[in-house]
Symmetry: C2
Subunit: 132 residues, 2 copies
């Protein structure tokens, strides 16, 4: 498929698809006329990239962890250099910390919401933790 279709199917501006390519997160074949030609595969891949970006990882790191996250679930064990494994371990660690921090803060927000919603007479649409 060409860039327009990939853009539409992933909800990603063409500009960004070119950017991801520039950052070497994806690689596009070229048809005779120079147009980018994407395999079906890239729909998932782009979605995954966006998910990781959304999660706060920089393209630099995403580039490193992507090869391990084949959407086909065929894990690429081959070619795992020690440096790469170290990077992954570090990043795994960071992701975990991030998740914890986010969770803590989200729960704090949730607690606050429960309180203000309850404000004496509990809101039936949103059971508060203690009201449950």
């Amino acid at each position: 498929m060409r860039i327009g279709e990939l853009s539409e199917r992933t909800g990603t501006p063409r500009r960004l698809l070119r950017y991801y390519e520039e950052q070497r997160l994806i690689v596009a074949d070229r048809s005779a006329n120079g147009y980018r030609d994407y395999d079906e595969f890239y729909v998932d891949r782009v979605l995954q990239i966006r998910g990781l970006l959304e999660a706060g990882l920089p393209t630099r790191i995403i580039k490193q962890i992507l090869p391990c996250l084949e959407t086909t679930r065929t894990i690429h064990v081959l070619g795992a250099t020690p440096e790469m494994i170290a990077t992954l371990e570090r990043e795994h660690q960071r992701m975990t910390e991030r998740i914890q921090g986010l969770t803590r803060n989200r729960d704090a927000v949730a607690g606050y919401l429960a309180t203000v919603r309850g404000e004496g007479r509990p809101d039936p649409t949103t059971p508060s933790p203690r009201a449950a």
Copy 2:
């Protein structure tokens, strides 16, 4: 305490403390000589801000949710406007999605690590999902 101490105790560059103030995430008293004067309280507060930034929230949003997250755990129920509650609900939702996305990807990385570490013979320190 002055900015230097707060900086050191929170591991945050002075520059950023001033930036957070500019963004109105924190407010500093001023002593007679014009120096910023921080209450003990701000150590926690700054740490919290950094946690939220680290989690990917922009200062704009952090500013809104901070008043609900008093570290003293004295929840500020007063002055919760409907707009603010709506923002919080939206943000709570986004945080949850973020956590899910992050978790999914982290687990994928973990799975990969478990595989390459075990490379045939499973690594006892990292139980693989199916081995468990």
